[in-house]
Amino acid sequence: MHLLEVENLNKRFGGLTAIKDLNFNVEEGEILGLIGPNGAGKTTLFNLISGFLKPDSGKIKFKGEDITGNEPYKIVNKGIARTFQVVRPFRHLPVIANVLVALKSARGSKKIEWVKTPEAKALGLLEDVGLSDMMLESAGILPHGDLKRLEIARALATEPELILLDEPFAGLNPIETELLTKSINSMHLDGHTMVIVEHKLYALMKLAKRVIVLHFGEKIAEGTPEEIAKNKKVIEVYMGRAK
């Protein structure tokens, strides 16, 4: 059984077709890359999967269960977490409180044996992403790179099985990119399945074993990074046609 199944998904905004007859699956334990030029519908797809948008038609199944059109918080509590393309931290709260919020969710507040309090768990998560010394700082003053890490810590706090990462490498310098790649790998080893939307192809291709390419809401290619790199249609879509 596939971890996530997307069947015949369609979404229109007035006259604009954002997602058209989209079909794909996500297997448990894999890192799936999702690429495509701007406006291809990648974030819309994430919004549809995580429940922030309701599709016009089609189905989304998670572990066999139909979650199409469910409320976002219910989907999180079923095991799908997401990060946002433009970070959305709780700027009025200190860093540790940001994680504490996620730990208040139904899924995040399930008891773990060796950690007694949510604060301890939050601290652990912050340590994993390297933000533990900032834990009391107001999230509003953190630099961009740190905020991205906070987003990931928050997503991990809900103990997800599937994580949707929306352009996690955007705005990061090479060092931060390296660190994030390491983090994603370790999350992968921990057993999390991930779908990553990314424009920085060199970073993505190192992580993803399988890649799907979207263009104007349709899937135009699917395969390993090497296959995608050689795919004529993909090159055309990104580079334009040679004369």
């Binding site: 919020v101 208040k104 060796w114």
Partner: protein, 363 residues
């Protein structure tokens, strides 16, 4: 045995209050306020303070809802007035004593609060503000309509007081302590809720509702929670005020009026929306200004008081629109909270390190 408890109580007191400057200050002020009756103040001053205490509870409850969760309520007098009316009606029709009618009234309003909150939940911003203003009007209309049962606009007078056995002069002092006690209990509870993990979720809803949803938070549940808690304390304030000698021991539709709803907005803006303690202090200051400064010192006729307050608030909001819009002001990051989290933090650090050193079972 007793000494261990005493010692523990003292050390807990020391950690939670003595060590933290703002709290120490608040405690000292509280002691001062508590000993006030020793100075034999006039009836007028006591009246002022009693009414201020009630307004303080009311404003604090508003602040939890609006300042921490971001649900703009411009008709909070609904809870206050309902609390007042229900206790009055229970006495009027069933002749029940005060210490029965008030808890029942509070319970009823608290039970109704989720129903009231429900339409408010689906809407945001102006819609919410308008619905919150419309609900008290509906209730006032219903009161007028069922006038045989509710006495309509005349209201209900002659409600029983709290201390019928005391001589008249001492009743004011007794009421003073009563309202002060209620204020203490209410504000501590509200403050603790606001700074609990639930309170953190409240602020997350205010900050970024979408992100909060993405963290798995059931927004509806928490908004309803905020509504209910806020409604509970507002109803308490209303129910108690109906029976106070200080407010004439009567109830009219004025307790549901837009002026009262806006007054609490004024108090909260003045004290600092989101701080929880600000509105309490502001309630006292504004009451003082309203009844003492304006009357005794500047001799302003009573009709102009409210007008002045509103104009001042309009000017304040015009000058600092972002302050009101942001709701939770920078005062959230105040010394006290940081200390608290730091304390918790250090505590966790130690515990966490200890746990790490000892062999842990793999997750």
């Amino acid at each position: 045995m007793a000494t261990t408890y005493l010692r523990r109580a003292y050390s807990s007191f020391a950690v939670h209050i003595l060590d933290i400057p703002p709290r120490l200050l608040a405690f000292l002020m509280f002691l001062l306020v508590l000993s006030l009756p020793v100075t034999k103040p006039t009836e007028h001053i006591l009246l002022l303070l009693i009414q201020a205490s009630i307004m303080a509870i009311f404003a604090c409850s508003w602040d939890l809802l609006v300042g921490r969760t971001g649900q703009i309520s411009l008709g909070h007098a609904l809870f206050f007035g309902l609390g007042a009316y229900i206790t009055a009606l229970l006495w009027f029709h069933y002749d029940l004593p005060v210490w029965v009618t008030i808890p029942i009234s509070v319970l009823i309003v608290t039970g109704l609060a989720p129903l009231i909150g429900f339409p408010c939940l689906r809407v945001k911003g102006p819609y919410l503000a308008l619905v919150s203003m419309a609900l008290p009007i509906i209730v006032v209309s219903l009161i007028s309509y069922f006038r045989d049962y509710t006495q309509g606009e005349r209201g209900i007078a002659g409600l029983p007081g709290f201390f019928p056995s005391l001589p008249y002069g001492q009743r004011f002092v007794a009421e003073y302590f009563l309202t002060l006690f209620l204020l203490l209990v209410s504000s501590v509870i509200l403050y603790r809720i606001a700074n609990s993990r639930t309170g953190i979720v409240f602020v997350s809803i205010l900050d970024d509702e979408l992100a909060s949803k993405a963290c798995g938070i059931n927004i509806t549940k928490y908004k309803l929670m905020a509504f209910t808690i806020s409604g509970l304390f507002a109803a308490l304030a209303g129910a108690v005020s109906a029976h106070l000698l200080a407010s004439g021991r009567s109830v009219t539709t004025a307790s549901l009026d837009a002026n009262l709803s806006f007054m609490v907005v004024i108090v909260a803006i003045f004290g600092g929306i989101g701080t929880m303690y600000g509105p309490i202090i502001a309630a006292y200051i504004l009451q003082l200004i309203d009844q003492y400064v304006l009357v005794k010192i500047w001799n302003v006729p009573s009709e102009y008081h409210m007008l002045l307050f509103i104009i001042v608030i309009i000017i304040l909001v015009l000058k600092w629109p972002r302050g009101v819009a942001k709701f939770v002001t920078d005062e959230l990051d105040d010394l006290q909270e940081e200390r608290e989290i730091e304390e918790r933090g250090k505590h966790i650090w130690k515990r966490y390190r200890r746990k790490k050193r000892s062999p842990t079972p793999e997750a």
